[in-house]
C-alpha cells in the first residue's frame, strides 16, 4: 500500500462521474473517451464539434488547475520510444475494437449494468495486471 490516496481518489472519481452524468443529461451522449476521440476522427456531421470541445476541455483542465496552484501531471514514461508506440497502438486499436475503454466500459457501461462492459472491464483489468506483473516482477524493471 505504497501511496493510497482515498480522499483525492473519491473526489476525483466523483468529478468524473459528474462529467459523465452531465454529458448524458445535457447532450444525451456517453462520455467514453475512446469513443469520443475515435468518432471525432471520422467527422460525423452534428457530432464532431462537441467531440473536439470535450477533448479540448480534457487537455485544458490540468492547465487551468495549474493556474489555481495544482501541480501539472508528471507521468513517468518508458525510455523506449518503441514501447510507447506499441503501447499506444494497442490502446487505440483495442479500445475501438472492444467499443470502449476505462471510461466507456469501466464507468458508463458498468453504471448501466451492461454485461458487455462488465466483461470488457474484467478482461482489460486482468490483462493489464498480468502485463504489469510480468514487466515488474519477471523481467524485473522498466521498459
Amino acid at each position: 500500500m505504497a501511496s493510497f490516496t482515498p480522499i483525492s481518489a473519491a473526489i476525483g472519481g466523483a468529478l468524473i462521474g459528474l462529467s459523465v452524468a452531465l454529458l448524458m443529461m445535457l447532450n444525451g451522449r456517453q462520455a467514453g473517451i475512446s469513443g469520443i476521440l475515435g468518432n471525432f476522427m471520422v467527422f460525423q456531421r452534428g457530432e464532431w464539434r462537441w467531440e473536439i470541445a470535450f477533448l479540448v476541455g480534457l487537455v485544458g483542465a490540468p492547465l487551468l488547475l495549474h493556474l489555481a496552484g495544482f501541480g501539472l501531471p508528471h507521468p513517468v514514461m518508458p525510455a523506449s520510444w518503441g514501447a510507447i508506440i506499441i503501447g499506444g497502438l494497442l490502446v487505440g486499436f483495442g479500445t475501438r475494437w472492444s467499443g470502449g475503454c476505462t471510461s466507456g466500459h469501466g464507468v458508463c457501461g458498468i453504471a448501466r449494468f451492461s454485461a458487455r462492459s462488465i466483461a470488457a472491464t474484467a478482461i482489460f483489468m486482468v490483462t493489464a495486471m498480468i502485463v504489469v506483473y510480468l514487466v515488474r516482477h519477471v523481467w524485473g524493471g522498466a521498459l
Binding site: I16, Q44, G57, V91, A119
Partner: protein, 153 residues
C-alpha cells in the same frame, strides 16, 4: 452552440477529476495494477465514486423527456459479448499495463507538452484510425444515425 459549450465544460470536469484523483500519473495507475507488489488501491476508489455518481445521473437522465440540448439521447444498445469485445479488451489491457495510460489520462497529459506523451497519443490515434478503417471495410454504413460505439461512447 450550447451543446459545444456543455461538452467543453464536461471535458473540463472530467480532466479535473483525472488530475485530482491521480489517474493522470502512469506510475499511480500501474501501482493499482501491481497487485503482487506495493499495491495502491486508489483507482478502485476512483471507479467506485465515479460509478456511484454516474448511476444516479443515469437514473435522472432516463427520467428526462429529452436531454437539455438535443432532441434525443443515444444509449448504447448492444448486449452480446462477441470476439471483437474480448480481443479488443485484451489488446487494450496489454497496452494499458505496459504504459499505464488509458485514453482519457493520455489526452489530459498532453497538457504537459512532453514528447513521450504526444508520441503515445499519436500512436493511439493511429491505432483507432486503423480499427475504424478495418470495421468500415467489414460493415457498410447504415442510415444517417450517428454510429454509436458498442457499449459506450
Amino acid at each position: 452552440m450550447s451543446r459545444v459549450i456543455s461538452a467543453l465544460v464536461c471535458g473540463l470536469i472530467f480532466g479535473a477529476g483525472l488530475l485530482i484523483s491521480g489517474m493522470t500519473e502512469t506510475q499511480k495507475v500501474q501501482g493499482f495494477l501491481d497487485i503482487t507488489g506495493a499495491w495502491d488501491p486508489s483507482l478502485a476508489v476512483v471507479m467506485a465514486a465515479a460509478l456511484a455518481v454516474t448511476f444516479l445521473g443515469f437514473v435522472l437522465a432516463r427520467r428526462q423527456a429529452a436531454p437539455v440540448f438535443v432532441a434525443r439521447a443515444l444509449w448504447p444498445n448492444r448486449h452480446d459479448i462477441d470476439a471483437p469485445l474480448v480481443a479488443g479488451a485484451a489488446m487494450f489491457g496489454i497496452g494499458w499495463g505496459l504504459i499505464g495510460f488509458c485514453p482519457g489520462p493520455a489526452i489530459a497529459d498532453l497538457s504537459t507538452g512532453a514528447p513521450a506523451v504526444i508520441l503515445f497519443v499519436v500512436a493511439m490515434a493511429v491505432g483507432m484510425a486503423g480499427n475504424n478503417l478495418m470495421r468500415r471495410r467489414n460493415t457498410p454504413p447504415v442510415g444517417k444515425e450517428p454510429v454509436l460505439e458498442a457499449s459506450c461512447g
